[in-house]
């Protein structure tokens, strides 16, 4: 993650106490207390091509206390108390740890039994609600998710990390052998520099295993580049890391993944412009300069890639296509003319009902293990990206 977010400009304990005090006062007067949070959904997302990411609109979600919401509010206040303790003490916990901590407290006190969480999804939803309500990042509440994705390889990148105690750790990625460097899913302060000269490009690959195969076949040895695996929908860690690369290194960033609606709207759009669910943190968790290298529809013919039909009988595929149609008419990112070329790819997918996996390039010439690399470089050279 790019920036240190631990030292928030907001005085979270003070805001939280004021909020609870107001709710308590409302209750004393038998008035229904309300909680307001930014509405984190597509219909409250604004896309400004100049800033390049999805920003929140003015809509708010108001939760008023009634019989139906009393459970949610009780859970919110219960978890807020635990999280505030962490903020005040400066200790951190992961979302999973918060789930187990809450469970432990509930189990040991019969009085709290009604707010028990059945699974982590329930406690996660409350944590995100608290973030939206206080308009803070989850990380600002000292709550982190498990590290996922972002495994990075390069022969020409040196990362300097400033640790919380002020000490600096210098990591030369070329010295790590076959081990990748992986950004954490929590605030880290990085300074990036090439070992020498300038880095030619950064390639983000949807699948970590495909990224590993590229490295194994010598891609990073032969090219002055950064190669990283996103591992599906990018985590906050991966999104922040890409933004750091974009901000600190003057090199183009390319994304390579499947040619299907899910990759375009869920993976690539999140990496480039953030997501509707994280409207309040997209400014720090998106890399608007990243380009979609492929697989592009024209690549299928040009490189003779194997593709196959999307079966609408398959419930998951049908849902994905329906979502693609909805996105074209509702998503401000795809509706903006700046991203017309990306929207055209979605339209092509909806019309042709075809998909092509990122791994299709391995089958172009199975006897030549460098063929995928050749295709990628050819595409970059010929500016065959969107």
């Amino acid at each position: 993650m790019a920036k240190s977010l631990r030292h928030s400009k907001k005085d979270i304990p003070k805001i939280a106490r004021a909020l609870c005090d107001e709710m308590l006062r409302d209750l004393e007067h038998a008035k229904r207390p309300t909680l307001q949070a930014i509405k984190c959904s597509l219909d409250n997302a604004i896309y400004d091509p100049k800033i390049g990411y999805l920003a929140p609109g003015k809509k708010k979600v108001t939760t008023e206390l009634n019989v139906s919401s009393v459970q949610k509010l009780a859970r919110t206040v219960f978890l807020l108390d635990i999280m505030l303790n962490n903020v005040e003490l400066g200790t951190v916990n992961s979302t999973r740890e918060f789930y187990y901590m809450a469970k432990g407290l509930v189990k040991s006190d019969n009085h709290l039994k009604p707010i028990d969480f059945d699974d982590q999804n329930e406690s996660d939803a409350i944590i995100y609600y608290i973030c939206d309500m206080l308009e803070v990042y989850r990380e600002e509440l000292n709550c982190f998710a498990t590290d996922r994705g972002g495994q990075t390889y390069s022969q020409n990148l040196v990362v300097t990390e400033t640790l919380p105690d002020g000490k600096k750790a210098v990591i030369d990625l070329s010295k790590l052998g076959t081990t990748p460097f992986q950004p954490k899913n929590q605030p880290q302060v990085f300074s990036l520099k090439p070992k020498k000269g300038k880095i030619d490009f950064c390639l983000v690959i949807e699948s970590v295993s495909t990224a590993n195969t590229f490295v194994h076949n010598g891609f990073t040895k032969r090219n002055n580049c950064i190669l990283l695996g996103a591992q599906g929908v990018p985590s906050n860690g991966v999104r922040g890391w890409c933004k750091t690369i974009q901000d600190q290194l003057d090199c183009p960033i390319f994304f390579y993944g499947d040619l299907d609606a899910y990759t375009l709207q869920n993976i690539f759009r999140t990496l480039k412009a953030g997501s509707a669910a994280s409207l309040i943190r997209n400014s720090d968790f998106s890399a608007p300069d990243v380009k979609f290298l492929g697989v592009l529809p024209e690549d299928i013919k040009k490189y003779d890639l194997h593709c196959y039909d999307v079966k609408e009988k398959d419930a998951a595929e049908a849902r994905s296509l329906k979502k693609a149609r909805d996105v074209l008419s509702n998503d401000p990112f795809f509706k903006d003319k700046k991203n017309k070329a990306l929207a055209d790819i979605l339209r092509w997918l909806v019309k042709e009902k075809k998909r092509c996996e990122q791994q299709a390039i391995f089958s172009v010439n199975p006897k030549d293990p460098t063929m995928p690399e050749k295709i990628i470089l050819d595409k970059i050279k010929n500016k065959s990206y969107v």
Binding site: L24, E28, V67, V70, L112, P114
Partner: protein
Amino acid sequence: MGKIKASSTAEYFAKNLQQVGFSSPIKAVLTTLKEAVDNSLDACEDAGIAPEIKVKIKKIGRGSSKSTDLVDIVIEDNGPGLDADDLPKVFGEYLASSKFGKGQCSRGQQGIGISAATTWAQLTNAKGVKVVSKTKKMRKAVSAQVDVDIKANKGKIKNKETIDWDREHGLKVEFKIDGRIQLNGDGGLLTYLEGTALVNPHLTLEYELLDNEKVKIERVSEEVPKVPPSTLPHPHTMKLGEFITHAHLYNTSTLETFLKKGFSRVTDHSIKEFIKSGMPKNALTKKVQTIPDADFKNIFQAIQETELTNPSTRSVLVVGEEGLARSIQRLGDIDFFSVVTRKPTICDFKPVVVEVAIARFLDRSSKEDEPVQLIRFANRVPLQFDKGGCAITRAVESVNWRAYGLNQPRKSLPLGPYIFAVSVTSPFIKFKNASKETIDASDELVEELRLALMRAGQKLSRHIKRENKAADLERKIQHIEKFGPILVEGLAKIAHASDARKRKAEEGLERLLGRDTKSALEDLETAEEKLAVLKAKQKEKLGDMAKDEDGDYLEDELIKTTKKKVAAIAKKAASKKMASKKEAAKPDNKKVATKKTATKKATTKKVATKKAARKK
């Protein structure tokens, strides 16, 4: 090629008893009981006697075959009794029946069942049936053993004697057979006896099974149903071949006379309609014997294309909604029931009446996630085996019970602690097999059954809606009790609030959530009123409306409990309010209050003075 020889009917059935319900030791006991009870009921109804039947079944030793018991089955009725000469015919001769081919809604039809039971007793225990019979004319009862002469298909009477019997008339039969006793479940004896009681409100049934206590189910109707006489056939119930055969019974009459006298629901008006549909007008005056077979086809087609009134309701026997409603209540403590009797209609050219009773018993331990208990009836006889392919099962499964508030897996029976009793009555029920366990599932019959089931479902849904509202209220009350204190405690902890603030917030919360439960209670009351109207209608029919002293309908336990809880919450909130008022009324607090009021008054006065100065 061997010599071709004819076998007797008894010989055939003795070798194929599995075809008539004796395919296993369990079924043997049930079928024997069923045949004897059905005969008793038919005999009583024929004689206009309100039936009183006693059943006693017990194990008396080991059976002769492997894994069987020797079971003693005794059935006694107060029917008209049988003459001594009729005993061998009834119990020992196959196809000896007074009802064969008559087209009536009687339980027995062919005269096979009870002779098959005698054969089974004879095959497994080497003794036929022991019968005691007394008619009104007899001074003493006749006691005898009847065996089947299998080679000759004749009944053989043995050990005949006259005995004293302390009753005016009646019949008692005793079978000692190899079998196994199953009380509960689809094929259980209890299911049969309760089912029989359900569709026979005029029956008093007393039974003693194994070592269990004697149970007596009293009749709820004094009216003995009269099995309708076989009426003239309806033209739409026939096929061409049957039509021609029927016509030749009226050979010397004209076609018009034949149509009017040989069928029900054919009038002068219908004959005009037949002509409009293509029947040659000149044929009407011709004698039936002069009409060539080829012309019959045109006449038959014209009749089939003409719409006719449904067949006479007298040709089918109906238990009736009132009878079913009364009857179902004597089977246990009922929480809710709905009964539907459809009008007679034609399905597959036959008059049919469908009746449905749905009930939920409070004293049965069936669960929410188990399928409902489906009891099927054909001509008032419970069908207990081969449920799968039956028209009734298919109809129940095809109805969307979720729309009426019941859970239902796809294309299956709905779930819940309900009993679904579905009865099909018709003089011509088409069974799938000789043991009469499964009604053939024709599209028309299934649709007719569906209509009846859906109507019953609509009535049921009113009850379930009321329950959902009550559950909603209960949930809301629980929410107040569960989450309220946790919320207030959490808020007070984060806001570092005092205990007094915490208490005040708790009171405020109770007042707020009390308002929510009040609206839920109003919803419940609306649903409750609708249900009360339905229940009142049902109870009015029964004539024993359950009212309290003020004449209001009695509330059920669930409503009472939830209302009590709401009242308790309101009372708690009110007492806390009083307590805080009392606290404020204490001298020290009063001083503070007075001081506050004085300050307020002073401020108001100051503002008023300032305003007046500005005006000046």
